[in-house]
Amino acid sequence: MTERRMQEPSFLILTALAAAPLHGYGIMAEVASISSGRVRLRAGTLYAALDRLRTDGLIEVDREDVVDTRLRRFYRLTPDGSRRLAAEAELLRHNADAAVRRLRLAGGTT
């Protein structure tokens, strides 16, 4: 059975967590940076995505800190999450390469 395609916010969240564990606000900032400001996650969307990714076993809690009396929970990729992100990135690369090749053949821009 083929796995369901990943939605862009989930892909960007996993990408943000690929380098190091991050807390919620850090993920939002990193996603905005990775997408060059195109995707700005809001808290409701972020936590709905984090809940789904945790349920699917793609991320897990790394640690908890308290800063200025506020709880910060850091998330990290699980080994499954790393594998899934790598597979999704490979699929996107494959599709993007195919698009570029066909545009070249048609004499379009690259």
Binding site: M28, R42, A43, G44, R70, L71
Partner: protein
């Protein structure tokens, strides 16, 4: 300013399930306040995003806890009872066939005599599939059976709006059975809730009702006892029983509306139906009222 903003965010976070808030409210509040800048109140988009996020998480929690919920058990009870409770609906057709057989003849046009025969055959297949545990297959057969039942009786020899109204309870019961077939954890769980003795009481009351109908008793006399037996058998003192009664009250209410024989009975039958609907709504209220903690998600925090 931060205090007022925090209060407003907390009010929005009330959209999330209780168990989720226990784990994430302070964390989310930190993120919301960190991104608030100099804002005094939550922005419109942020508010809409939080409400939508709360709805999503609630839907997920409900889906995760559904198999263990009293609603799922009640659907299993409904799945067990619907094939039995549909029998009185088939009784008029069976009565026609019995008349022909008593006169050692077969109807020249079977479908004219018993227009809903194919539909009841479908339902028999659905009931057998459901009891064998092939619930999705049963639902696939039961949905068209319910819709065909309405169609066949409205296009049949007694074609009239009254025919549609009279068949409505049985169609509703069919569709309820189909939903229960697709969504419930199986008739076995329904039997575990009722117990064999209560189930046997419902079957006996149904057979008695069908017998009374075939003997030409008034429908109220023939079917009057059945709702009482079903109500008691469902164990309405339990959340599962209350859900089951509330679900079965939908076709039950439709049936009460059809009981009128003359214009003078109209107000009485609608009145009784309204009382049943209100009682069902009260039962639903008792099993769905807020304040009960949602089941904890299956996860651990290191």
């Amino acid at each position: 300013v931060t205090g007022a903003l925090e209060r407003r965010y907390r009010r929005l976070l009330a959209c999330y399930p209780w168990a989720y808030r226990q784990e994430h409210e302070e964390e989310m509040l930190g993120v919301l306040l960190a991104g608030a800048g100099g804002r005094r109140r939550p922005g419109l988009r942020d508010s809409a995003d939080l409400i939508l996020g709360g709805v999503r998480i609630r839907a997920r929690y409900a889906a995760r806890s559904f198999p263990d919920s009293s609603l799922a058990a009640a659907l299993a009870v409904v799945l067990l009872l619907v094939p039995v409770l549909l029998l009185p609906g088939a009784a008029p057709g069976l009565h026609e066939i019995a008349w022909w057989l008593r006169h050692d003849r077969l109807p020249t046009n079977f479908l004219l005599t018993f227009p809903a025969a194919p539909v009841w055959s479908f339902w028999l297949v659905a009931a057998i599939l459901g009891l064998l545990g092939r619930r999705r297959a049963a639902a696939v057969v039961a949905v068209p059976a319910g819709l065909l039942l309405a169609l066949s009786l409205t296009l049949g020899p007694q074609n009239s709006l009254l025919a549609l109204e009279e068949v409505a309870p049985w169609v509703l019961l069919s569709l309820l059975g189909a939903v229960a077939g697709a969504a419930s954890p199986g008739a076995r769980r329904g039997l575990a809730h009722l117990g064999p003795a209560r189930y046997a009481a419902v079957v006996l009351a149904t057979v008695l009702a069908v017998g009374c109908q075939l003997q030409g008793f008034h429908r109220l006399t023939a079917l009057g006892l059945l709702p009482v037996v079903v109500l008691l058998a469902c164990r309405p003192g339990t959340p599962t029983g209350r859900w089951a009664v509330a679900l079965l009250a939908l076709p039950g209410t439709a049936y009460l509306i059809t009981l009128r024989d003359a214009r003078s009975d109209l107000a009485v039958s609608y009145g009784v139906a309204a009382v049943v609907a209100v009682v069902a709504a009260c039962l639903l209220w008792t099993v769905t009222r807020p304040g009960r903690p949602a089941p904890a998600a299956d996860r651990s925090t290191p």
